[in-house]
Symmetry: C2
Subunit: 429 residues, 2 copies
């Protein structure tokens, strides 16, 4: 009699630090095979090994300071090609059939924006065929093929996570497991807050706010994709077998019962602040400034405009942006200084951003007051504020940031046992 | 007024030693651009950089001693992907558009024999489009895509040269230029014979015999392909601008006038000799032995069977084969020893093969006598002999081989000025 066993379809994604060398490959292969032996169909998305991508970029820079996007993508995709073939070999070695597929072969169709392509469609016919035939499919993360020109593209930052979620959605998988070097999503960065606790689950909205606020564990794009297709993500460590953190539409009942008002605290030291001093307080001036910034393709984060002094009719405008965009932004502003007529530009890269995230704050109006009191007690001066329905962010001095994170973590009763979180290594792409 | 300039279409192939590092890439790029600026359409086939292939094989061996063919091909093709993208960047840097294409993108269709796939068809639509639009096309050598399974394949030894000739034939190119680390095809290996001279031209037939007899400059498969499609090959150095050697159907009149009887001398130390001692001299015994060898997929070269001694009815059979096949051949023979009833097997890997090649020997019956006299004078003992219409090969002691090559070179008046030949480096795949 044939047994009707309920099979799951699991997509697993392993980052570059998990497959950095032969030992890592073998450990990951054993894990994949265990999942297969447990009765599941398994599709694996893998990043380039360890530092491969950086080494390839170095090679390109030896040739030219400004590599053509099409060719840089052709070059970088060699990295996943190497890791996926080796991983397939490691799995075969354990007695299971594995077939590797490039992004193109896996049907990852993108637009033509080399280096930061967006996934338009996923047609995983070859993957479905492979898993139907009992094989484990290994797919190159971070890459696809452009719909128009059939050229190889890369997806940019977070590309491998996004590949995994997109593939999971197209295959109607039961779960997308993202393996990383930490045990899951924590109430704060364990390197800053030793008493940080692992979250059992977190909603897509909270995870989006955490990722946008500096939490590195998952990339914004991948969470956005998961939310759109309601694909559950299980973030867990490739170095342990511990249950990780589930990223889902709604938290399970049990988790809600014990839920704190704040799910987590994120911090970010990668931003700088630009202050435009002495801006004429006339209609259209701010619009002109931010249009110029947008035209220069610069993403800005928080904006604050002071009330103008009645005596002068002048005001100051401050905004934050990634430090990497600083030079571009200042030169863009200098170009329009004459036209707009402001006095000067100040550039400050010694800032930090601290964000409280939690769906619970919707129903708890006192959060802001508690938060500001905690910052005041910790001697952290608040320079800028921005909020969403489930997030409060502040900008402070970079030197005060970690102290602020610890103070907020304690104030909102997030502290667990010290050393609960383990950080195993670097992070992949 | 539009000038009607006669444009040529040139396919150039650069080996791994020519693009071993950034400087090599830039030098090759400059050469390609010069060819383009001279008014030609240019398609370039490139091998993996320097030792990349060996490094990738090392990686595979860290995972498993017996990598799956499909995945090894997937792995190794990363090598050309890297070199072709970098070369395209180096060309762009010189102000010309270059687009790189994988074997699959270039339409190189093969059978499914991973690691030694044969080209079935070339459909270079994307290449034609690229060169029509004025771009230089860079194509990965050594690789293709299988017709049946759409899997990535590699062509094995000589694969990049073969890719170049096959592409040149499919594009109806005017010439296929094979760039290497020597100035062309020489009358003998310049490292052994310092007075070796560069040949202006050589026929496909002669080049086939040279390649089959141990000359490394061109691979047999590539010459076979060129002969089938009558594609002229120009073998030349990537380290100089000297005219190289043309491999053509018929030598030009001028070259024939000055042609020696012998075009060149090849030698080979890669073979071993197996002697099967005391074989019963009955019908079908030799056939049984060589069927077993063939079934084990072993390629043999020369065969000699002694006249059997009337007293015993036993004979000895000797044959040569690549040293790498020695263990396989001896174990195969041991398996059939009982059935066939021979006495013993002798394995000798201290042999050398020396071959005289020249279309001129068709009309000069004295060549063999002169050759054997020269060997005798040089004290080289001849152990085996085989001939074709345009080749005489002998097997001798490995220790005598180079002395024999120099003696034959002098005897057939091939000597030029010492040091005419320059050897620049290693050789690619």
């Amino acid at each position: 009699m044939v047994q009707n066993k309920v099979m799951g379809l699991i997509v697993q994604k392993y980052g570059g630090s998990s497959v950095a060398d032969a030992d890592g490959m073998k450990r990951v292969a054993a894990r994949i095979v265990a999942t297969k032996r447990a009765g599941n169909q398994v599709v694996v998305v893998v990043s380039a090994m360890g530092d491969t991508t950086d080494e390839l970029i170095d090679l390109a820079n030896q040739i030219t300071p400004i590599p053509i996007g099409r060719e840089l993508d052709m070059l970088l995709t060699a990295g996943e090609r190497i890791s996926m073939a080796l991983l397939a070999m490691a799995i075969s070695n354990l007695g299971h059939e594995a077939r590797s597929f490039t992004g193109s072969q896996a049907g990852v169709i993108t637009d033509s924006a080399h280096g930061r392509a967006r996934i338009i469609d996923v047609s995983p016919g070859r993957i479905q065929e492979a898993i139907k035939e009992g094989a484990i499919a290994i797919v190159a993360g971070f890459q696809g093929v452009s719909q128009d020109t059939k050229d190889i593209t890369t997806l940019g930052r977070g590309g491998s996570d996004t590949t995994a979620v997109a593939l999971a959605a197209a295959l109607d998988a039961d779960v997308c497991e993202i393996y990383t070097d930490v045990d899951g999503v924590f109430t704060a960065d364990p390197r800053v807050v030793p008493t940080a606790r692992k979250l059992k689950s977190v909603t897509y909205e909270e995870m989006l706010e955490l990722a946008a606020s500096g939490a590195k564990v998952l990339h914004l794009r991948c969470v956005e994709y998961a939310r759109r297709y309601e694909m559950p993500i299980h973030v867990r460590s490739s170095f342990s077998t511990n249950e990780g953190t589930w990223v889902v539409k709604n938290q399970p009942e049990g988790d809600i019962m014990e839920q704190a008002i704040i799910s987590g605290i994120a911090h970010d030291k990668s931003e700088a602040k630009i202050t435009i001093v002495g801006v004429p307080d006339r209609t259209g001036v701010a619009a002109r400034i931010f249009q110029a910034i947008a035209d220069a393709d610069i993403n800005i984060d928080m904006i604050v405009q002071n009330v103008s002094a009645a005596s002068t009719g002048l005001t100051d405008i401050s905004f934050t942006l990634p430090k990497s965009e600083g030079p571009n932004a200042t030169s863009t502003l200098q170009r329009i200084q004459g036209e707009v007529g402001f006095a000067s530009i100040q550039y400050d890269d010694q800032i930090g951003k601290l964000s409280l995230i939690g769906a619970g704050m919707r129903s708890h109006p006192g959060v802001t007051a508690n938060f500001f009191a905690a910052m005041s007690e910790a001697g952290v001066n608040i320079e800028m504020i921005s909020t969403s329905e489930i997030r409060i962010s502040i900008v402070c001095r970079a030197a005060d940031l970690e102290r602020g994170v610890r103070a907020a973590h304690t104030a909102f009763e997030l502290d667990g046992e010290p050393g609960e979180a383990v950080v195993y290594g670097g992070s992949g792409r």
